[in-house]
Symmetry: D3
Subunit: 239 residues, 6 copies
């Protein structure tokens, strides 16, 4: 049975802050977690790398971010990691990349794909990624593109930087306390975006508090929020 | 552990068409299913009863609908059934009923409450029921109303008659094929609304087809659609 | 066949500014137009009446507004006019008024009801009127409230003072050029709200321009905008 | 006077399931119905054609779907039929196709254009078609692209596969009982998508039931649902 | 000139977590800040008070919460404080309270009113407060309720506990770093809700980070988020 | 400190009707106002130019519109004016133009950018402009595209032709009475779109009336409406 997870992000840092907990948690449970980063985020999400005293080349920034992403992915237990190097701010349209994502879907047969939400006026790279994922999903389902077509996977959008600005409406809270330490280490493997560490630690604590509220749990909890795009087929509401 | 289900409907017929499958399925799995009908639907949802040649009294209509509801509930395996007899078309506001629902919540400690969606311009009784359920949920959670306060249950809205008119956005599809026969019998236990039988048989087939599409199932499937109001806390996305 | 129109407004002035054209147009075509004003708008929409040098009694304001409304209604060709005198700013809840509106619906059997839109944060009297109309519509449809139950009428919301603030999304434009003169006279029959004359003349010109745009008409046009609540059953899209 | 209808779909099957009734009804009334299919749906909507024992070529699938579409269009009384053969799953962007649609608009001068709704996360080909139609509509209105510019037609979106998922809000119900037999035959002229026959028969019955409810009709009714994009200019609300 | 601020909350704690910074900041600038608490939150928002070993009376809880609110209000520099003691979970409807709020508006003539947002399925007391404030605003504007009628104030909604669940869309960020120490002390003056301290400290840090992002500020910032209900009349966009 | 304003429009006429008041007002206050027109609107928004007796060349229309725009811009006090000449109806995608806008942002460092709103089914050129502006804003913020990266400016959408059709929700009203005469002259400097003069005069009067209503002003007021995309960081709510 298909039980893998595919994560598609616009920039290398996104998977750590937004769904690093889900990745570690599923990897720990034996679910293969595949990761695609459409760009290195070299232009718009590597500010620290550009702010040193000495001039820096774009390729050096890309190498740096790639190394950080590989380190973080390893901490989270990622099964495969693919960099498309499309450039960012803005991320260009790329039918070839849509096809390439669809081929990864055919090869890995994910039950669920994690990606950015549909809207974000402050970051259209995220919107474009969402659209590319949905388009790739169609391509992966189509018999005319190969007999290995897939059952259409669920798509879950992870949390953007400012949820309300993006119309993000989470309907799933994932409790990630058991893997928080891993997520925190993966965040620290990204010193180029050091400025985001405490921000996303607080995000995890807020989502954990919300999850605990519904569950009357005790102790400090960490969480991540997700919004499902398609109706989920469930066997029951109460166990 | 709390594992019961509470269903609150505006009129007696609603539970059969809208969530009869969920009720039968959970009852079959050993989940206690409790049912509250705020009215008999005697004025606005018992048309056949009023259309005979001979004049009919409202009390007779209420008795008829009560008997039908009891028969249908038994077929579905309901654990308890409560009629509030508030009157319908329109259903009046009733703080006392809110409190009474909250007491049932305290007594039965449901993990999930099924009720009408928030909006329905063609049937404000449904909207009022939704609001009463949310208000009762608050009252049931409050320590100041008794030490037996509950962990706040999830609220799932079942399908209205015209989904788009009501802004209904289902995010959960429940496959009910295994209990379809029971639901169909429960529907037939309501001859006063015989005109709805084939309509809701088709609704079940459409929702089943949609569920099957996501699951690549074969054979005829039956389904029901639901919209969750609160984020669900989940342990994982992929088993 | 049923072919009457029912208009229900919160305050006496509303019918003139918002749907005076539709009223005159239909009256002219022989459609009986019935009007219900839930209040005289004496507190919040009669400012000129309160601003004179001499003190004024509330009853005097009500009489004044009633006389204005009767004059305007006559100009527009209204078939019947009913004042509920519920008070305004705020308009109170009134189950009795809901029932009374429903009885008028049973008596007049309107094909369409014109009223305020659902939302208006600056004027909750309008929202309450909308809700009362929908509730009365249910009551009028219910066989249990009398054998003279009606086929449910379409509900059309007329334009609020600030459309975007109210989430008003018109899907119907009525060209009222042929009756503009009548509407203008009816507006002038309401000197207490003289401050609104040019505002609503401009509204009519804007809606007329929008209607003309779609129809490639020439000359000055006047219009009114409406939003339908229920799907309309149409025989064809093109004549 | 302009009185034609233009239908633009992403894939060949769409016009049958979604607006075959409107097409037959208007053709029967003497309205010329023009049809544009942007792709043959060969990759993603011809599953049965790919699932045989023997391998199949894409061109053969396209020929098959073309023949089916021609047969269905003839049954529905289509006046002209144009295949753009853009490919599908995904349908590519095509400014040339936008221009070509605009030229058909100039040539046929439709009063109304039927196409897909704006949103559909499960099928971005539908969204792209919607956008291409709106862009072509602009191009057709512009004097700078030729003196034969058109009065902007109304755009009506037909029903997607899962209405709520697409945010589809129908405001028009077309009763198609008189042409149901034709629509049913046209559906059967598409054996490649045999799996959709009963699904869309039920859609027609549900929309017919909803139309009948508003009209108090008797007997089995069939219907189709539409959402208008632009305000409609109407001469009256009640005849 | 009118330059006061009015805050209306459902429960005593709300003003501290949600707008304590705005209150302290404006008080510091010499703006009179008036506060109305519709209930003591004794039933649903005083959990710690009910969880001791010994039984406790509702009146004792109310006294405790009142004292906490008075202490917090003093820290924040509140000019006047009014408790309506309506009860909570649920907060009842109260036309008398609407009138009383409107009288405070007439007396204090606020330029802005801070209150809860319109929607919150987990806490209908907040929704009811919003509605009461808007209704009171109407009553305060109406000449028929007294010659001291007010210019309608702006209404700003402060942040609910789970912003996305409530459809909260902030369009204003208030930087409160200068008064954070006061807000933090006011929070600590509410030990009954000690469980919320760190949650709302993190909310303030997140909103501060978002404010700083737009302003390229440095250092730790604290903020609060607000959503305006009415269009703001502004003299310019750039100073 | 940055205090300039950048205006980006799809067609040359747009800046006059939609934000001419804001431009004149800020220019008068010493704020440099920079203007980019992506097209001359030669195809779709120059109807009068194409309707003469003699045939006309597209280049002549473009020259005409350019001259009109230059005259209007001078009246409004524009500091710089850039024509991209991309063509219109439809306006094509253009990554190069996105980059060029971003370079202007880097050079002029606007505190605020005025442009079209996100949605407009009747004019996709407006939507594309909005998207290009947001994409250019990202590019201008990115250190990897140059060390002169900017603090992200606020984006304010000005009013479309039919606000409700576009989902336009203004939250800012700018009172432009002091510069109305200039705006009116700028409108008259565009005789090719003479048909819009009175329409937009009425828009200005309606927005002025709405602004006055909130401010209890007297006399005839003129206004413009805007919707902010990002939360504004404000120092206080009451002065």
């Amino acid at each position: 049975m298909s039980n893998s997870m595919l994560v598609v992000t616009a920039h290398v840092g996104d998977f750590v802050w937004r769904c690093g907990g889900a990745m570690a948690l599923h990897a720990q449970r034996g679910v293969p977690v595949h990761l695609i980063c459409l760009s290195y985020g070299e232009n718009g999400e590597s500010n620290a790398a550009w702010q040193g005293a000495a001039p820096v080349e774009r390729d050096a920034v890309k190498q740096l971010r790639r190394a950080e992403a590989e380190a973080a992915a390893e901490i989270l237990g990622v099964a495969s990691l693919d960099f498309y190097d499309l450039g960012d701010y803005p991320l260009p349209e790329s039918p070839e990349s849509v096809q390439r994502i669809s081929q990864t879907m055919r090869a890995t047969r994910p039950a669920v794909v994690l990606t950015h939400p549909e809207h974000d006026p402050s970051n259209l790279d995220h919107c474009r990624t969402y659209e590319m994922v949905l388009r790739a999903r169609m391509q992966a389902m189509a018999p005319g593109h190969g007999a290995d077509h897939v059952v259409p996977p669920q798509v879950l959008c992870f949390e953007p930087h400012q949820s309300e600005l993006c119309g993000f409406k989470p309907n799933l809270l994932l409790e990630i306390t058991a893997v928080w330490e891993q997520k925190w280490q993966a965040m620290q493997a990204m010193p180029t975006q050091r400025n985001l560490w405490t921000y996303y630690e607080r995000v995890a604590l807020q989502r954990g508090a919300q999850a605990g509220r519904r569950a009357k749990s005790v102790g400090t909890l960490y969480g991540e929020a997700y919004q499902s795009i398609f109706p989920a087929v469930v066997p029951a509401f109460v166990e």
